[in-house]
């Protein structure tokens, strides 16, 4: 069981390292989105700092959907996915491994690059720490909800856009509380604990349900 998890995780990471693309595409996309706003909005410091939390999270949502499309479809097209379904392991476990790999490749880099955003948008140091923390809590949820959508739209035409269309509305709670936490940390005397609790709850719930739902969706899609 655990071994299946490791094999799939290692495989996906190895593949990504061979291709080296996804990590960089996602990072670049994130940076472009982030740097576009100061250029478009003008550099009024107050406004920038104010919209920073929202922008960071929107950029994270969009970056996460960008790589989602290929999460299962490349395996589907070359027949690897049906082989996964035929191994004597629990599909949810292997799906979970794939989700973790996706997060390591698209979510984690965003967490790590967050200080750069702080620099660009003149966010106070404390808030940058909060930003990294909520990204750490929130991006896995994005990967997990996204995986369900990716499994449902597997092999369909117009996959990428359809997928984002399905998934983005479901991301809203993470977006609202993720951005809210950062804003709260910049305001005086507002506790960010409720935000963190809510985000953690989302994460735990999605940890429990998402791999299972994704596995079910995959089984439906592969017929």
């Amino acid at each position: 069981m655990l071994s299946a998890f490791w094999i799939v995780l290692k495989r996906d990471l190895l593949l990504a390292l061979r291709r080296r693309n996804e990590v960089f595409t996602v990072l670049f996309f994130f940076i472009v989105v982030i740097s576009l706003f100061p250029l478009g909005v003008g550099v009024e410091e107050k406004i920038l700092t104010k919209i920073a939390p929202g922008i960071v999270w929107i950029a994270a949502l969009l970056a996460s959907t960008l790589a989602l499309d290929r999460l299962f479809s490349s395996d589907f097209e070359d027949g690897t996915l049906e082989q996964l379904l035929l191994t004597p392991h629990s599909l949810s476990v292997m799906v979970f491994a794939k989700i973790v790999a996706h997060w390591l490749l698209t979510g984690l880099p965003l967490v790590l690059i967050a200080p750069l955003v702080g620099l660009l948008y003149q966010i106070p140091v404390d808030s940058i720490a909060v930003m990294m923390l909520v990204l750490l809590l929130g991006t896995p949820v994005l990967s997990m909800i996204g995986a369900i959508g990716a499994a449902l739209t597997l092999g369909l035409r117009g996959g990428g856009v359809l997928l984002s269309f399905l998934v983005l509305p479901l991301y809203i709670p993470v977006l609202v509380y993720g951005a809210g936490a950062i804003s709260a940390s910049m305001a005086q005397g507002v506790s960010i604990q409720p935000y963190l609790l809510l985000l953690s709850a989302f994460m735990i719930l999605s940890l429990i349900f998402a791999p299972w739902a994704t596995a079910a969706a995959l089984k439906i899609s592969i017929e």
Partner: protein, 214 residues
């Protein structure tokens, strides 16, 4: 060990592919599935794997429905479809390693290298499979057979893209597996003489039915 199929019916879209299909397969037996293009061979094989859900009928492994057995059944099963199920970015060895590991056992890299050599990929073990020819890619997929411990092989046109020598080699591999107490189901449009073991023939399409056992 037996694979028993009772009164199976499969529908694709709005066409009934076959119905009332029944047969049993014992150890040391090989089932050759025949039929024209589009007669439903692939669909039948995928149904036997549990990848496709039949409309009616049961598939039993040792008397128990394969849906119930779930991963216990899959433990005994090796399926090779039209697709090679190999990753173009990984080398032949890496592909084979991952596939066997996921199959549930670890024969070690030496055994894997030997399998690759035996199937005719000597010197190509460390190439990304993207850089192999069509037949060589198929061989990478087939190398799994040499290190497999599964009892039931389900092979969908395994001879495609292989050259004459490789076809013969693969015949021997399948024959050896069946002789050693395994079972195999395969489809092919090529005339392949499979001599040893009990060969059953099953025909799909117009004249559906189990043909004489050889």
């Amino acid at each position: 060990m037996t694979l028993q199929v009772n009164n199976l019916q499969c529908i694709r879209g709005d066409r009934e592919l076959f119905s009332g299909l029944s047969f049993a397969l014992q150890q040391k037996q090989l089932l050759m599935l025949e039929g024209a293009n589009g007669s439903g061979k692939t669909t039948l094989l995928r149904t036997l794997c549990g990848l496709y859900l039949q409309e009616q009928g049961d598939i039993l492994w040792d008397g128990v429905s394969i849906r119930k057995l779930d991963d216990q059944y899959r433990q005994e099963l090796l399926y090779l479809g039209h697709y090679n199920a190999i990753k173009m970015d990984l080398t032949a060895l890496e592909n084979l390693r991952i596939n066997t590991l996921l199959g549930g056992y670890n024969p070690g890299d030496n055994a894997l290298m030997q399998a690759l050599d035996a199937i005719g990929l000597f010197g190509f073990e460390d190439y990304p499979t993207r850089q192999l020819s069509q037949g060589q890619k198929r061989r990478v997929a087939l190398a799994r057979l040499l290190v497999s411990k599964q009892k039931l092989w389900i092979l969908d046109e395994p001879f495609v893209a292989l050259d004459v020598a490789a076809v013969e080699l693969l015949q021997n591999i399948i024959a050896a597996h069946v002789d050693a107490g395994g079972m195999a189901i395969l489809t092919t449009h090529q005339e392949v003489p499979l001599t040893t073991g009990a060969v059953k023939r099953l025909r799909l399409g117009e004249k559906q039915g189990v043909l004489a056992d050889a």
